[in-house]
Amino acid sequence: MNGFVEALADGAVVAKRNLIKVKRVPDLIVFSTLSPIMFVLLFAYVFGSAIEIPGINYREFLMAGIFAQTVLFGATITGTGLAEDMQKGIIDRFRSLPIARSAVLIGRTTSDLVNNVIVIVVMSVTGLIVGWRIHSSFLEALAGFGLLLLFAYAVSWGMAVVGLAVRSPEVVNNASFIVIFPLTFIANTFVGTTNLPGPLKAFAEWNPISAVTQAARELFGNTSPQFPPPDVWPLKHSVVASVVWSVVILALFVPLAIRQYRKAVAR
């Protein structure tokens, strides 16, 4: 237990270091918010006019999907950040210190979580400007944001494994784009899943991103009785499903990431 508290304290030191960097070189966070803002505007004004969701303004429907996509991309920073530190030999130096194996990873994922909070705030303001409204209680809305962040935090640990294995920030960036981009589209993020062809439909319905998007939609009150979710368990019980997905991802990738960190040997 004591060791765990110490790992958290060391993690906080590492997180602070990462956040100072974000503050001084804001490019990364600026670009990671600019692209979702562009998405909001594109979908709201270009596709929004062509996409019809019964019983609800498309812009309200859209926001939860964009939030989910955005925080996922936010999570990839964990991979690029670790790969960069690895390349520079900083991970080696950390590894020679008398600190827990998990401390650097806790620090990294925590600072990326803070990043995601900032991004979500900016996105919300953009959403509110284009006509998105929350129709639920304050606590429900908070739970909605919490769920998005929890899921992104879990994915961060997966990205940590990738970053430590691949070692090159550019490769992590490109690889995660190729994987995450389609994943966020074969889902209920931007359109309903009902009209998708068979296998894609099944994939979209069981895609964890769909569960998280659906959960956020419900918690923000952005759903419509005329447009119920498909009759599959993860979308009918989206909040529980999102939590389960997050816990499963964490249970899988936290130990894997720590193992990878232990093995990591920079050249």
Binding site: V13, I20, K21, I90, R93, S96, P98, I99
Partner: protein
């Protein structure tokens, strides 16, 4: 005799089909400085990485401060400090922030970490640049900050991988005195270097390695004695007289000759130390050669290096 603080026996490390370490042994007593010397690719960094638990050996065993590097890695890390060949300070942070960060990770309180950071900035001559981001530092300043960050605590064992690479002579000498002070305070230091002069200046014990194993070890003086001991250097005023001087010295000193292109100096290994100086001086005078300087000296580590590795030390040093 207390047991050695650093101990390695038959260390092996393979990369693909290539043995970077091939049966490496080491034994360093407490509070001494050991210099690992060797050409590029000799395996110096690999030794340091294994002893600092960053890498597991494929064979053999090693202990640091009595702890086994593979089975008791956590205890080893509690007793070591380490500076890699690569700079590991953060560009975006200021010098002071970098040191405070490492202080915190060595578990100093926030206030103590700040205080220690300021002391080290002072000690390493970085006061003026303390609040500047490291990306504006020169290469030498950056290296000094690296070193400062490894001096935060006085660990029992310090590993320094080419600590003075990229430092100017003044800073190199400052660095040397910092290492000496560290050893005086009881820390055992293992450093790698390609500078023979540095090993000569700092190390109590030198381990010369090549091809992943030790090829010679001993104090600097012991190693120098292995080339046959003494040399006599003659500097002529007129370079045209150099060949004549060479002939005279070959006869008078009786040993091998060495000269570098374009230099006015010629060196000869000396067989008979007692009479060499007078014999050579007289022979030069008799031959009418105008000698500016005649000196008798021990062999340099360069000569040892050359003899034992069959490689040109100058070439190695120039990297």
């Amino acid at each position: 005799m207390s047991s050695p603080v650093l101990f390695a026996e038959g260390l092996r490390k393979r990369f693909g089909g290539y043995y970077a370490l091939d049966g490496f042994d080491l034994s360093v007593p407490a509070g001494t400085v050991c210099g690992l010397l060797g050409p590029n690719g000799a395996g110096k960094t690999t030794v340091l990485r294994i002893l600092s638990t960053l890498m597991r050996p494929d064979g053999g065993r090693a202990t640091v401060a009595g702890y086994d590097v593979t089975r008791q890695a956590a205890e080893v890390r509690n007793n070591i400090g380490m500076i890699g060949q690569q700079s590991t300070v953060d560009d975006i942070l200021t010098g002071r922030e970098n040191l405070a960060l490492w202080g915190r990770l060595y578990h100093l309180s926030a206030a103590n970490a700040k205080r220690r950071a300021d002391e080290l900035l002072e000690q390493f001559g970085l006061n003026a640049a303390a609040s500047k981001q490291v990306k504006y530092y020169s290469g030498g300043m950056r290296r000094r900050l690296d070193l400062a960050s490894s001096f935060i605590t006085a660990p029992r064992v310090m590993f320094l991988d080419e600590p003075t690479a990229g430092l100017d002579p003044r800073n190199r000498i400052e660095m040397w005195s910092a290492v000496r002070a560290l050893a005086q305070a009881g820390t055992t230091v293992l450093l790698t270097t390609q500078l023979l002069d540095e090993a000569d200046q700092l190390a109590d014990q030198i381990v010369l390695m090549d091809g992943g194993r030790e090829i010679a070890s001993g104090t600097p003086d012991e190693l120098k004695a292995r080339t046959g001991g003494d040399w006599i250097d003659v500097t002529v005023r007129n370079i045209a007289q150099l060949p004549a001087a060479a002939g005279v010295m070959a006869r008078a000193a009786g040993g091998k000759l060495q000269t570098a292109a374009g230099e006015h100096r010629i060196s000869a290994a000396v067989a008979d130390r007692a009479h060499a100086l007078t014999d050579v001086t007289r022979a030069l005078h008799d031959a009418g050669i105008d000698a500016e300087d005649v000196t008798l000296r021990r062999a340099t580590l360069d000569e040892v290096f050359l003899l034992l590795t069959g490689k040109d030390a100058e070439e190695v040093e120039a990297v």
